[in-house]
């Protein structure tokens, strides 16, 4: 974790550390910024639902059980347009496909013989960009059998903060000046990029998928908007994987693709 300004300087783990203490540390060692950004963006989501005739309970329900902002926004949009459940489900699934590769990439890092399956399933249920970024960044510094609990601590904090934000947004909708709303929206992508760069910018293997994604995203968005993110991921990720592993041939286990 060296060299990353925002990371706690990973104190040692006592041998008798429990899952409960690991979960608590997962929450406590989270830098202020990611929860703050999530809170802000969910305030925006609450403000959105309040204008579409949904209740505060609906807003809370979506934030806890979906916990993936793009999917939530798509769902609200479909409901507002009076779409059928099936149409809405297809649209939401299309945005949520991106959670599949994130889950597949994160879980092997936290699996362990001593970790019960329900904890792995529970963590999978809360995989979203922020949880994924924070967990993949910090879990390697945690003893293997405590990583699931540690990541669940991160997820619990972020879910709590997000759903509170959504409800506050629902209640204070329309009171925020638009320049503040714009700044809050702007912080999310900047945080995502910087958090990914922390783990990756020293090696070409780590940097390639980021650069290709940044370039391909807008291109696919213009050409094939329905599947732009999935295509960007599959094309950009596969090309950088092939380049890194068969053309550039770095030494194994450099841990760069994070």
């Amino acid at each position: 974790m060296e060299g990353s300004g925002d990371t706690a300087n990973a104190p040692v783990w006592p041998s008798q550390a429990t899952r409960r203490s690991a979960a608590w540390r997962g929450a406590r060692e989270t830098p202020l910024l990611p929860p703050f950004i999530l809170f802000s963006t969910f305030v925006g989501f609450g403000a959105l639902t309040s204008q579409t005739g949904l209740s505060c309970l609906d807003t809370l329900f979506m934030s806890v059980f979906i916990f993936a902002l793009p999917g939530q926004v798509v769902l609200v949009d479909e409901m507002a347009r009076g779409a059928s459940v099936l149409t809405a489900a297809i649209a939401v699934s299309a945005t949520s496909i991106r959670l599949l590769p994130m889950t597949v990439a994160l879980l092997p890092m936290i699996r362990d013989k001593r970790v019960p399956k329900w904890m792995v399933v529970a963590l999978a249920q809360f995989v979203a960009v922020t949880v994924w970024v924070e967990s993949t960044r910090r879990a390697p510094g945690v003893p293997r059998h405590l990583r699931a609990a540690y990541a669940l601590g991160i997820a619990a904090l972020l879910v709590g903060v997000s759903s509170s934000g959504a409800m506050i947004g629902f209640l204070v909708a329309g009171q925020v000046p638009s320049i503040i709303a714009a700044a809050l929206l702007f912080m999310m992508p900047l945080y995502f990029l910087l958090a990914m760069l922390i783990g990756a910018h020293r090696t070409i293997t780590g940097l390639l998928p980021i650069l290709l994604g940044l370039v391909l995203g807008p291109i696919f968005h213009i050409l094939i908007p329905e599947f732009d993110l999935v295509l960007t991921g599959v094309v950009g990720g596969s090309v950088s994987f092939l380049l890194a592993h068969y053309v550039l041939r770095p030494q194994r286990n450099d841990g760069a693709v994070k």
Partner: protein, 111 residues
């Protein structure tokens, strides 16, 4: 949608189920994969590129209030944020603070 219970069922099916299915598929597919193996390396690259694509899309084709700012302001502020992040030896807080400040100031100045 008159009854609030109908709305919750709608959210449960079209929201929760439609999202949980991919996360659970990820759980099933990830079992038995080696953390350092090529499959995880490839999938990590895919998810990284996908999130990077999402980032570029939000900045270039922004939602909501961010769309009121000009593309020059958005891209410039984003670039400044990334640049100061590197100058500050990979400090996320500095990068985000500078980027957001540049965004607000540039917009107020009328760029």
């Amino acid at each position: 949608m008159a009854l609030s219970s109908d709305v919750l069922v709608y959210i449960f099916v079209a929201g929760f189920a439609a999202t949980a299915i991919w996360r659970f598929a990820g759980f099933v597919l990830s079992s038995g994969l080696e953390e350092d193996g090529p499959v995880v390396a490839w999938v990590s690259a895919v998810s990284t590129a996908l999130v990077a694509g999402l980032i570029a899309r939000i900045v270039l084709f922004p939602p909501g209030a961010l769309a009121e700012m000009s593309a020059l302001v958005r891209l410039g502020a984003f670039g400044f944020g990334v640049l100061t992040f590197f100058l500050a030896r990979s400090h996320m807080g500095v990068g985000i603070l500078v980027g957001t400040t540049v965004l607000i100031s540039a917009h107020l100045v009328g760029l």
